[in-house]
């Protein structure tokens, strides 16, 4: 309390951080950064070749969007991401459910799985490139792997931690095993499963970029960035960064909207931005 009062005393009222309305507080830092970026060139604070004005990035964006170059790269990246995400999530759900439902499978597969998940994702790249080459197939395999692990772990956790109290209610009402799974286990595990799928979405997008950096063939946003760096096209690099960030933001936003609908019964949300 005291520190707050002191701060309020020293700062002019309108400069106090709390002067910004709550819903807009998240925008304070982006706006400050953009202003700083704009001012850097407006007032000539740098002449470095490693940095370009905001306006040049926008021009490049308009040019590449007009020529279809941007859409082509983004489309290629998103196509791989969606495919890898869907494959990894589907297999992950199946394996996670199997591990959660069957103690035999857990004993059989669990130890191997828990060892493999300790291997850094990028350590698989050499193996994947040897087996699948450098093209789409290799990238999609890598992305599937990235999406697979969080889904398995969270599905397994969710199914394992179904409250006993709920299972007893199911027994009192004489549910058969399928009813127990469909009416109790699955819905109770859903928040955890959603967390897994949500992580898979984020990992898949990160891994898309990773795959494009490390398996450099074909087109994609990652290749756009690599190209930009090699040719010292800073505008293209920065444009790539902005697009990657924007896609991540949209994915995150969609996930939280979906969660809000699917898991309305919880009255709160995990996916946030």
């Amino acid at each position: 309390m005291t520190s707050r009062q002191q701060t309020a005393g020293r700062w002019p009222h309108w400069l106090h951080p709390a002067a910004v309305p709550k819903p807009l507080r998240g925008w304070v830092i982006p706006v400050l950064l953009l202003t700083l970026w704009w001012a850097t060139f407006r007032f000539g604070w740098t002449s470095s070749q490693l940095f370009v004005p905001l306006s040049k990035v926008i021009d490049t964006g308009v040019r590449m969007a007009g020529s279809g170059e941007l859409a082509h790269a983004l489309g290629a990246s998103l196509y791989r991401m969606v495919l890898g995400f869907v494959i990894g999530t589907a297999v992950g759900l199946a394996v996670g459910t199997a591990l959660g439902v069957s103690r035999l499978l857990e004993n059989l597969i669990g130890p191997t799985f828990h060892t493999l998940k300790q291997v850094s994702l990028f350590a698989w790249i050499p193996l994947i490139s040897l087996w699948f080459g450098l093209g789409d197939l290799a990238k999609i395999a890598f992305l599937s792997l990235a999406a697979f692990f969080p889904v398995v772990l969270n599905t397994f956790e969710g199914i394992r931690s179904v409250p006993r109290a709920h299972l007893e209610v199911a027994r009192v009402f004489a549910f058969n095993p399928w009813q127990v799974f469909a009416r109790v286990v699955w819905p109770a595990a859903l928040p955890s499963i959603f967390t897994g799928v949500y992580l898979a979405l984020i990992y898949a997008w990160l891994a898309t970029l990773g795959a494009e950096y490390l398996l450099t063939s074909g087109s994609g946003i990652g290749n756009l960035l690599v190209d930009g760096r090699e040719h010292f096209w800073m505008d293209q690099v920065l444009l790539g960064v902005l697009v990657v960030g924007a896609v991540g933001f949209v994915l995150n936003w969609s996930a939280s909207q979906l969660e809000r609908r699917l898991l309305a019964w919880r009255g709160h949300s995990t996916a946030q931005f």
Partner: protein, 272 residues
């Protein structure tokens, strides 16, 4: 009106195995409950009263003795025996009417009949207008009423109540005790209430079974020959309550300690 059952418990004993040692929980419990009777069971923690209910509902097995419902030995859980737990145990992903409807999932009724039964039982516990609410939107007392509706919707022959109002505040508890008595009178089913609240036991029961711990056994059965509705301030009521309480004089009663509520991240975050 549903059929109310006779429950006959004869020479019931139960042990748990704890680290290789045998721990007796119930020792030679015999109790006969008439159709439509309301029996309260009071006892300190660890006297096996909850275990007794879990055996009757069929969630625990491996016992000695007999538990007979209308002369038939009970096997596992069954729709003819309903239970309300201390925690409401509603499924948070289902609305009030879906939670109540869950009780009818395996009932031999048509969809229309099921819908009617759900509506009637939500009305029975006085929750019209909350059919589409989720459990997180309900108070503790309302949740427990939904749990009662869910347990009754199958029209069980006997309803078991395992400290159903233990976690509620005193005012809500008193109100729900009245409600429960009204429902019992209206439905005429056999009810067995386990509680550690002597006043609750005397207020609701036709008979109060006093249990004592280590191992759990019946110490005494006290009749409550008072007309309903009962007046807690009445002299006869107070006398019976005193009588039951005197059974606990050498065993200090375990008071219910409310668990602290789970703290939210927001509560400890600074506002600046």
């Amino acid at each position: 009106m549903p059929h109310a059952a006779t429950l006959e418990i004869r020479g019931l004993s139960k042990q748990y195995q704890v680290k290789g040692e045998t721990l007796p929980v119930l020792d030679n419990v015999s109790l006969s409950i008439k159709p439509g009777e309301f029996v309260s069971i009071v006892g300190a923690s660890g006297c096996g009263k909850s275990t007794l209910l879990r055996l009757v509902i069929g969630l625990e097995d491996d016992y000695q003795g007999d538990i007979l419902l209308d002369g038939h030995r009970i096997v596992g859980t069954s729709l003819e025996r309903g239970i309300v737990f201390q925690e409401h145990r509603l499924f948070p992903w289902l609305t009030v009417e879906q939670n109540v409807g869950l009780g009818l999932l395996n009932a031999d009724l048509g969809e229309a009949r099921k819908r009617d039964a759900v509506r009637e039982h939500i009305a029975l516990v006085g929750l019209e207008g909350f059919e589409r609410a989720y459990p997180y939107q309900l108070s503790g007392g309302m949740s427990q009423r939904v749990a009662i509706a869910r347990a009754l919707v199958n029209r069980p022959e006997v309803l078991l109540l395992d400290e159903p109002f233990g976690a509620l505040d005193a005012l809500t508890r008193a109100y729900l005790q009245q409600e429960l008595q009204r429902i019992w009178a209206q439905e005429g089913i056999t009810m067995i209430l386990v509680t550690h609240d002597v006043e609750e036991a005397v207020y609701l029961g036709d008979r109060v079974v006093v249990m004592q711990p280590r191992p759990g056994r019946i110490k005494r059965i006290v009749d409550v020959p008072l007309p309903r509705p009962r007046d807690r301030g009445d002299y006869a009521f107070a006398a019976i309550k005193e009588d039951v309480l005197s059974e606990f004089s050498d065993h200090p009663r375990d008071e219910l300690i409310a668990e602290p509520r789970e703290r939210n991240a927001v509560e400890w975050q600074f506002s600046w």
